[in-house]
Symmetry: C2
Subunit: 226 residues, 2 copies
């Protein structure tokens, strides 16, 4: 479903060069459930941004459904981002002026859905992440973990095929984190592909494949035996 | 060193009332090393904001060094915040236009230190949290865990007596998290008081006392036996 083909990502700031990713090769299968782990600063979010079409590699290619993303037209790319991919950001990226339910609705609005139908779906998603009693709160009126959960709900608004979640449980206690993982299990059973960055071995244990990065390269890529 | 005396915190939004904290009583001793744990949304950050003099209770009193904080003059309060308390925020709160080393220097600047001396101290702190090779990066050029570590370094700039850290290792892998805890152990050995919110049992195990909150009330408050 997605292929990372000898991808590298380099940042150049004056004379300083940071090689955030070096020669990364990964094939993601349809319906996969993958955890990406590794030390702080090793390139996980950089990789997620490439997978989510939010950034381009410096070298190599990223293929989505067999097509080279860098060769796609702008509107084709935003159609994919809007309806096929759901992205949960490490730093939430919520819109401060909008309430919880309005934040969740944003992707639906961009896909042209009717108001009543969007509102109903957004409320249902808020309840599924345990925020049914916070739907009119603004982000600054929520705890860190609650904001994280709004980000998770928003990523699911358009019922995407692929969910990319960058540390979805980093600010959650182990019970709330387990609730989110139960929810992810259900989505996986529905046939979705889940790719998740996590620092928690407990959460990673629940996925089917663990890719470990270190200093911008793949250290190991192991599938669980059933 | 600090006393929470029957404190409550209520948020009112229209007809909705959220009782974030209810009748909290805690005595913090000089040189204490405390972990505060509990489910997402149970009131931990709200309590930390009160302890850090960033917010006031709705009822009850908060005493710092025996004095009621709500009765203090503005300049006395900012002297305390500037030099006696170090605060690590759950969402980092870094200044995007300043580099890592400039961000760490901000509290020193407010306390009127000389430039050369501030710069030297800030660089040393950056090295102590593993960011010696990132000192000129801006926050958006850092990973999530790196930004979290800048927040930790900044909280130590003025060598405070009390360090309040709201989920300091939430975005760190277990090795980087352990490095930060080693660093906190050293600070504790120097006589500092550390009060830390964490979701990680592993990190909490390393403190001397664990306070568990649930729905705005204290569920348990246990000191480790030596
Ligand atoms: N300004 C506000 N107005 C209304 N409610 C608020 C406000 N700030 C926080 N709350 C509510 O108060 C409760 C406690 O929030 P707090 O941030 O202290 O939780 P927390 O324990 O730190 O959670 P987490 O582990 O998710 O960070 C939450 O339910 C939140 O929705
Ligand atoms: N815009 C940028 N310019 C320069 N360097 C950058 C930029 N963005 C990221 N980096 C560097 O690239 C490296 C990888 O960053 P990335 O955010 O992918 O790490 P990460 O694995 O997600 O870490 P964490 O677990 O802390 O979130 C880091 O060392 C970071 O300093
Ligand atoms: Mg990251
Ligand atoms: Mg919090």
């Amino acid at each position: 479903i997605a292929q990372v083909d000898n991808v590298s990502k380099r940042y150049q700031m004056g004379d300083v060069i940071v090689d955030a990713l070096k020669n990364i090769n990964i094939d993601f299968e349809d319906g996969d459930f993958v955890s990406i782990m590794g030390p702080s600063g090793c390139g996980k979010s950089t990789l997620m941004n490439l997978l989510g079409c939010l950034d381009q590699p410096t070298e190599g290619r990223y293929l989505l459904g067999g097509q080279d993303v860098s060769k796609m037209e702008d509107d084709e790319l935003s159609a994919i981002r809007g309806s096929r991919l759901g992205f949960v950001f490490q730093s939430y990226n919520l819109i401060q002026q909008l309430s919880v339910v309005e934040n969740i609705e944003v992707p639906l609005y961009y896909q042209g859905h009717h108001e009543a139908e969007s509102r109903e779906r957004a409320i249902e998603l808020a309840e599924q992440v345990g925020l049914g009693d916070r739907i009119h709160h603004k982000p600054y009126e929520l705890s860190g973990g609650q904001q994280q959960r709004v980000g998770i709900a928003r990523s699911l608004a358009n019922d995407p095929l692929v969910i990319l979640a960058d540390e979805p449980t980093g600010n959650l206690d182990s019970k709330s984190g387990a609730d989110i993982m139960n929810f992810f299990d259900k989505l996986h059973d529905q046939g979705k592909t889940l790719i998740m960055v996590t620092h928690s071995d407990e959460m990673a244990e629940r996925s089917l494949r663990i890719i470990r990065l270190r200093d911008g390269v793949i250290e190991s890529d192991e599938r669980k035996r059933n």
